[in-house]
Structures are given as structure tokens and as C-alpha cells.
Symmetry: C2
Subunit: 371 residues, 2 copies
């Protein structure tokens, strides 16, 4: 059976290792495992949401309300936009997919940072687009601009803040950049971690309403998977002008969100104080990581998210650290596959982070005793 | 903003009206509404599943195990295939989508019955494929063969049994047809309602293992949305030879299933007696519909599913019946959009069906008094 040629260039996404895998492969007990690999909210899911979901499990046989009326209403109130400016996806991932499939075809150009969310490249490869990457790993708008002037683009991906590195462009710089982009180039502003960036530094904050009012060629992506504590429920959204949303809706499969997920998202939007509290705790714990890394003489990238990227010098291999942490029941992300000698660690709860520091201390001790 | 041309031909899927809509639009109380529109299992979700989900709501913040190890294991045991023969989709819909995107491109040919599951056409239009339909509404393999001999095809869609009409081809006829299809044509055997067909008549039964062992160009699609009572949880699967599955996996986005959905599917597979019991009740209730329709002098299509298609004569318009039922809190599907003067009614519970008969009686009485 022969399939479309473009599939040959498509790589599979490498997900953070799930807890279930460590239980199966290493025989470690579930309760002894600390997962700091997928930037989930370590404080879990709001109790309000948990109780709501418990109370509606009898509805699982019913298809969801495919108009997603109630969730769109909640989001439109939160962001001061109309229902018609919103599309809901199975994670904001799916909205990315809609954007690429709606806008790109074989040999379209797309522009992205050299090290950024892997799905930009994967979805673009699925349609056979040309992928143009900046030289720098961190977002460098001058380099974006050079590529754009030289080659043009159907889509530009901006990850604000950037996953997996953690840096975040200033809003004013982003707006200056957008001023120079043609109306027919779709600019995707991926705000999966925006709640963290906005909390840490208001100059990073991108307001979806402000963005799409000023630039009708942009789409803002948000998610319930990170700060909102619903990574397992697969819900994200895109906010854009009606023309863009209507085109993307043509690619949305019916019932792309479970009915429990819809309710979970609606409920957590009512429990904003839970989310705010988690974000606040995140940066208290982040400080511990920064201090630890400085103390050890490593480098970190200043992070506007709920994770931190720790870079090692040549004497230490991230693959080794990753593997040793895993054997000790701690799952992080190895950035080797991005060509960087670093690990990305989700900022966990206090006790999880303490354990991470202790385990890493022991690993480093063994390395130095061998040197 | 200009999007890909092909989108202009894409129509939106018309979902069965949700209960929430009637509450909003007609002010009918939720408990007074009977939904017989989306072929959900009217007996609901297995209690075993409900209890399991209640016990794991605290995990909603965690991303799912993207290998779907446990669910694949359960399905591979059920169907006597390997894990590598299975792909899991957000409903079997999503596997359809993968098939079309992996195999078709602009001006590919796809063949389907004149009246069949609407998503075949929608997904095919998304890539700009040529859609070749048989003349007959019911599956007619002679007509499929004629189209295939004349035009060839990248994909052939067989809906066994067929939604929205309910008829089902015999396995032996399907196999005879498959004998004449080229190895490089993907034949999709959509078995969303196979559990019902197999129960009613063993000669309709398609066993995935048998199918893919004999024909390496086929994929069998199954779902948890119908007999398994999990329509809201969005889980379906495809079973095919490894070569096909590996190509489709390149289009599967990570985390396309919620973690609660994975657990729900795993649990319901342990509660097969619940499913069998629902299917058995379905056909007891189906008989009541057949008797009713005969009594009124209408026609029905012999159905191998959990729904029945009732055709009206020229004196009665399906649009009118649909609307009047809606006003009385009963939601069915109007098949007018398929060009057929008929309604499709999901076989409900005993009391739901009784109410349907009574309400339809009253509507018909008013029509006849006007004639």
C-alpha cells in the first residue's frame, strides 16, 4: 500500500514519558515516581472541577453539544470577544493543525524559531511545507524578519513564551514585528504558557482581544492543559477574527472534545483563584531552581513558564543525567533531540523539587568522583 | 486572508441536535426531552465505567499515556490481533480522517454509497478528492464495482451496517467484492454498528482479524460511541496490517484521547455483559418500531443497527414531522438533507419509544384531520 509521499518526512512527536511506563519498564512504584516532564500543573486539577465531573459521569454515553455554546460563552466573557471569534480544539495542538491544513499546501513556506514546539514542524511536514528556521534557538525577531523578507511565508509561528526553552518576547517587540507582516500571512501566537508570562512580567502579556483587533492576520492560541490543570482532558482554543475562524471550522471534526472535557473547562474558568494560586506558587519554586543551578555552576534560561531549561557544560551529558534521574523515578525532558545539551524540568511541588535537587546532587557527586 | 481553495467545497457536518439546544431554544425542561437523534446507547454508560471514572478524576491534570499501551492491549486480546495492528482515534471519525489525509490528495478518487456517513464526503472534500457515489442509496456492490472498474480509487468506503439507512451487506458478498480490488486501494470497512449487525445476523458479521488477514488493503473501524455507551468520550479504533497503521500513526496528533476516555474504554471492555444486554434489548424495542410503522402504512428499511429509518409517502413531509416532534421534546434526525423524505430514529428505551409512538400518533392525527 502506497501512501502520500509527504508522510516520509513526518517524524513522530516524542511525548514526555508517562508514569505508567516507568511502572512497567523499571518496576518503580507509582507513588515513588515524580513526573516533571510535561509541564502539567503539579498542584493538580481544581477540586471544584473534580466534583463537577464526578457528578456527571452518567452522561458519558451522550455526544457533546457540538456547538460548544456554553464553553464559548465563558471564553468570550473572559476575553471580551464574540463566540464567533473562538474555535475549540482537542488541545491547542488541534487548532495548530487546522491552521496548517487550512493555509498551507505542498511547498508553502512556514517560519519558526530554531528550537520551539515540535508540533509546528510535524504538522507542516504533514502537508509538505518548506520549514524555514531562524539560526538562533531563542526567538530572534530580526532573524524572523530576514527570513520573511527573503522568502515570504504562509504561516509564522511565534511561541510566547517559548516551549521548550522558556524565554518570552516583549509584547511591544511582537507588535512592531507584526506591523511589517502582510495581511495574507497567518501569524500564530501560541500562548500555551501565557498565564505564567503575564504573571511574571506584564510587558510579556498578549491580550487576545487587543492582538486580533490590531492585527486581523493573527490567531491567539490558549490551552487548559497547563496552568488550568486539565492536560489529560485535551482542550485548547484559538481566538481570531471571524473570517479566520470560519475557515478553520471547516476542518474541525464534529465532537472533537469530550463532554466531560467541555464541562471541566467551563468549571475551571469559574475557579480562577485556584489557577492564580498555582501560578504564584510556581514562581516561588522556580526561584529554588535558579538558586540551585547557580550554586552548581550550570546555566539556565530565564523562564516565563512552569518549566526551566538547565544547560550543562561539556563534562556532563544531558542523556546521562536524564537516564539516571529516570532510574531514580524522576522524569524530565532531555533536550538532546533538539541538539541542546540540556534538560527541561517542570517546576513541581515543593517536595518534588526537593527530591529532584537531592537526586541530582547524588548523580553529580558520582560524576565528579569519576573525573 | 486567503485559505486553501479546497475549503470552499467543504460543508459542515450537521450534528444531531443536543438536549442543551432544546432547553435553550424551546424552553423545554431537560428531563422532558427524549433524544433519539445520535444513536447513542439509550441504556447509558456501564456503572462499572461510571465508578471507575469517579475514582480517577484527580488525574485530569496529567497528560494521557500516549502509547495507549493498556487500551491497545485490551483491544488486541479482544480481536486476536497485535498492538501494532491498532490505531486509536478521537472517535473512529478521526481514523477516517487519517486514512483520507494519508492516502488521498487533490483529484484522488474515492468511492462511496449515495447515502452514507456524511464524514466520508467531508474529509474527502478537505483534500479536494473526487467523490464518486453509487446511484442507489443502499449499498450496491455491483455499482461500487462499476465505478471502480471505470475510474479506479484510492479509497473505497463501505459502511457495514450503513448509517443513516441501517442496511447491511453480507460478509460473503463483501469478501467477493474485495477479491477484485487492487492492493493499492484502501478499503475502509466502517463497523461503527457492527455489534448490532453481528447480533442480529451472523452472516453480516465482519471479524477484523479475519478481514485484515485475508485482505491487506483493508482497515476495520470500530467505536465505543454506540453499543459501548461512550459517545461523549470520543474513542474509536482502526485495525489493519502494520504497514497501514504505521502510515496512519504519522498523522495521529499526540494525546488525541483524554486520559479519562482511555480508562473508560478499558473498563467497558471488561463489562461485555452490559453491552450484550443493551444490544439484546435494542432488538426487542426495534420490533415495536417495525410493528408501529407497518400499522401506520409507512415503510422502514430493515435495520442492523440501533436506529430505524422511517420513510413517508408524499402526503407527509419529514421536515414537518421532525419539527413537530422537536416541539414536543423529541429529537430525531430528518433525512431531508440526504434527499430522502424520511426520519431516522434511534431505538430508545421502552418508555421513550412509547412516548415517541404517542406523540407521532397525535401529529399524524392532526395531519389527517387537515387532509
Amino acid at each position: 500500500m502506497i501512501f502520500n509521499d509527504v508522510l516520509e518526512n513526518v517524524k513522530l512527536y516524542e511525548a514526555g514519558k508517562p508514569i505508567e511506563l516507568l511502572v512497567r519498564q523499571y518496576g518503580i512504584k507509582e507513588n515513588d515516581i515524580i513526573k516533571l516532564a510535561s509541564n502539567e500543573n503539579p498542584y493538580g486539577t481544581s477540586l471544584v472541577v473534580q466534583n463537577k465531573i464526578k457528578s456527571i459521569v452518567q452522561n458519558m454515553f451522550r455526544y457533546p453539544d457540538d456547538s460548544m455554546y456554553e464553553l464559548k460563552k465563558s471564553l468570550s466573557l473572559k476575553f471580551n470577544v464574540n463566540d464567533d471569534n473562538i474555535i475549540i480544539g482537542c488541545g491547542s495542538d488541534q487548532v495548530l493543525d487546522f491552521c496548517v491544513k487550512a493555509k498551507c499546501a505542498y511547498s508553502s513556506n512556514v517560519i519558526m524559531s530554531n528550537t520551539t514546539f515540535a508540533m509546528y514542524e510535524i504538522y507542516s511536514n504533514q502537508v509538505g511545507a518548506n520549514i524555514l528556521k531562524t539560526k538562533d534557538d531563542l526567538h530572534n525577531l530580526e532573524q524572523f524578519k530576514m527570513l520573511y523578507k527573503k522568502y515570504g511565508a504562509d504561516i509564522i509561528f511565534l511561541c510566547l513564551p517559548n516551549n521548550p526553552l522558556g524565554e518570552c518576547l516583549n509584547r511591544s517587540d511582537v507588535y512592531d514585528f507584526l506591523d511589517e507582516i502582510d495581511d495574507n500571512t497567518l501569524v500564530i501566537v501560541d500562548g500555551a504558557y501565557q498565564e505564567y508570562a503575564s504573571f511574571k512580567d506584564n510587558s510579556k502579556k498578549i491580550d487576545p482581544y487587543d492582538l486580533i483587533s490590531k492585527y486581523n492576520n493573527t490567531i491567539y492560541l490558549g490551552t487548559f492543559s497547563k496552568a488550568y490543570g486539565l492536560g489529560g482532558m485535551r482542550i485548547g482554543y484559538g481566538i481570531a477574527c471571524e473570517n479566520i475562524i470560519n475557515s478553520l471550522l471547516k476542518l474541525r471534526p464534529p465532537f472533537n472534545i469530550t463532554n466531560l472535557s467541555l464541562q471541566a473547562a467551563i468549571e475551571v474558568l469559574k475557579d480562577q483563584s485556584f489557577v492564580d494560586d498555582c501560578i504564584s506558587k510556581n514562581f516561588v519554586q522556580m526561584k529554588r531552581y535558579e538558586d540551585y543551578v547557580i550554586d552548581k555552576g550550570f546555566c539556565f534560561i530565564d523562564s516565563y513558564t512552569n518549566f526551566i531549561t538547565i544547560k550543562f557544560d561539556d563534562t556532563i551529558k544531558s542523556c546521562y543525567i536524564f537516564k539516571k534521574l529516570l532510574e531514580n523515578g524522576i522524569i524530565v525532558r532531555n533536550l538532546k533531540s533538539y541538539g541542546i545539551n540540556a534538560i527541561r524540568v517542570t517546576i513541581g511541588r515543593d517536595f518534588e523539587n526537593t527530591k529532584f535537587f537531592n537526586v541530582l546532587d547524588n548523580i553529580l557527586l558520582k560524576i565528579s568522583s569519576k573525573l
